[in-house]
């Protein structure tokens, strides 16, 4: 990072379709489990990867908090509580530090928006609850996390679709690096629905409804047919290095590089040169050479154009010797949660010394070749990893984390 302060990660919490803890998630990934089902959150039977929306689990959140939370905020709150417990800071300590948060999602809560429009369009506006706005606002994940953890610092909510989570991480890191924050909880969350998967389907970017749902998505694969939408949340506690060391905090790793850019003219298509520039800038911001990277956690969602663009950029910047895999074959594309959620899995890969392969990658698309695809569990010691997230609007975000601090 280019600022004055070093930034470390001292707490991790997730809520996902394949586990409620990073350990559970890793075990599911290592066992090659798929979260994808037929239908699920899509009424037209497109495959989706739903996270549990169990009211009984969410009752761990007091009603006074829960009443303003749609599933996306519930996911975030559960992940945030885990991250707070993991980092070891109490609510009183966080209050004294004026700790804040940066959490984003694609569009707040699709389920709540739909409920609201159904009432308004049927002439029943008087049945709208005052909670409707709080549940569906674009920053619902952020302010609900702050309420849940009692955070009285700044609240940010980068809403940049599939880059929301990683941009939140980058923002938090920049704020600590610049000396403006000491502790900030960062992450992303999303819920999915027919509107989301349907939108991708209209663009011919979605996996088909037919066939075995667990055979989709197929990142980088020769016969990939599109992505699968998923949902969940991940929250990390980002902390200024000195503060973390003085209190004896457990340190997952240090965020040493981050960059974000755009293609400048894109709407839905990935721009390989812009992605390459983003990745190169991220390495430069970390002060490292691309060859120093031990593993790349790809964005690759299984779209024809997106995977090829990312592979081309990786080829250009990193060559063929850095192992690459995408976790979207297991988890689906968790949208705003994807960056941080997949990072949580990478920390577990590092802990176990094992890389998780790209699921459903039986035959590599020639357009995605020329990079080191991880196609089976691979033993590998990690020190520095690279994470990509890309979003509609041509948004690219990349982050580098060093594990041995």
């Amino acid at each position: 990072m280019n600022g004055l302060k070093r930034v470390v990660i001292t707490g991790s919490g997730i809520y996902s379709a394949l586990g409620s803890t990073p350990g559970e998630l890793f075990d599911s990934l290592a066992a090659n489990k798929s979260a994808v089902v037929r239908g699920g959150r899509d009424e037209n039977f497109l495959p989706t990867a739903p996270a549990p929306r169990d009211p009984e689990r969410f009752r761990a959140l007091p009603r006074t908090l829960r009443r303003a939370m749609a599933p996306s905020a519930c996911f975030t709150a559960m992940a945030g509580l885990s991250a707070m417990q993991d980092c070891g800071l109490t609510q009183d300590e966080l209050t004294a530090l004026h700790a804040g948060c940066a959490v984003g999602s694609t569009m707040g809560s699709v389920s709540t928006l739909r409920e609201g429009y159904a009432l308004v369009l049927s002439g029943q506006s008087d049945r709208l609850s005052p909670m409707h706005f709080f549940k569906s606002a674009s920053h619902t994940t952020a302010f609900n996390l702050a309420r849940t953890l009692g955070l009285n610092g700044a609240i940010y909510s980068p809403c940049s679709a599939c880059a929301s989570g990683l941009q939140s991480m980058g923002l938090g890191a920049a704020l600590i690096s610049a000396g403006q924050e000491t502790v900030i909880f960062c992450g992303g969350a999303d819920e999915t629905g027919s509107e989301v998967s349907g939108s991708f389907a209209l663009m011919y970017a979605h996996a088909p409804a037919e066939g075995d749902p667990t055979e989709s998505p197929r990142p980088f694969s020769a016969n990939r047919k599109g992505l699968v939408c998923g949902e969940g949340a991940a929250v990390f506690c980002l902390e200024e290095y000195g503060h973390a060391v003085r209190r004896g905090a457990k340190i997952y790793g240090e965020i040493i590089g981050y960059s974000s850019n755009s293609g400048g003219n894109g709407l839905s298509q990935s721009d390989a040169p812009a992605i390459a520039r983003c990745m190169a800038d991220t390495c430069a911001s970390a002060g490292i050479d691309p060859s120093d990277i031990d593993y790349i956690s790809a964005h690759a969602t299984s779209t024809l154009q997106g995977d090829a663009a990312e592979a081309a950029a990786i080829r250009e910047i990193f060559g063929a010797n850095i192992p690459v895999s995408s976790l979207k074959g297991h988890l689906g594309h968790t949208l705003g949660a994807s960056g941080p959620l997949e990072m949580a899995a990478v920390f577990e890969m590092a802990r176990h010394g094992v890389l998780i392969p790209t699921r459903n990658l039986a035959e590599i698309d020639p357009a995605c070749s020329g990079i080191d695809h991880v196609t089976g569990l691979r033993e590998k010691r990690l020190d520095i990893f690279f994470k990509n997230s890309f979003a509609f609007g041509g948004i690219n975000a990349s982050l580098i984390c060093k594990l041995n601090v």
């Binding site: 009443r67 008087d126 049945r127 609850s129 005052p130």
Partner: protein, 106 residues
């Protein structure tokens, strides 16, 4: 809406138990919403929306309901006003139906 007082009490109490997750043992006519039952103004709006739906009436323009402070006040309000509220709801339905019908063209 044509309910006995007991039916009104049952409907209001079940809304509080189900929507506000209040222990039934804590419900008594003298309990205040804010201090005793721990609700706030947003909860009260949600409660009233739920009761509107349950009773098939509208409370939007009603000033008296905004003055309730205890559970007993709410029971009394609905018992006293149900005829008026029902008449208002039926008038509103008729007006909406008339507005939706196309004009007769001669």
């Amino acid at each position: 809406m044509n309910l006995t007082r007991d039916e009104i009490i049952e409907a209001v109490n079940s809304a509080l138990v189900k929507e506000m997750e209040i222990d039934p043992a804590d419900l008594a006519p003298e309990k205040t919403f804010f201090d005793d039952l721990g609700l706030d103004s947003l909860d009260m709006v949600d409660l009233m929306i739920g009761l509107q739906r349950k009773f098939g009436i509208s409370l939007r323009e009603n000033e008296e309901i905004k003055q309730v402070r205890t559970l007993g006040d709410v029971y009394d309000f609905f018992e006293k006003n149900q005829a008026m509220l029902t008449a208002q709801a039926e008038a509103a339905k008729a007006a909406a139906k008339a507005a939706a019908e196309p004009e007769n063209k001669q």
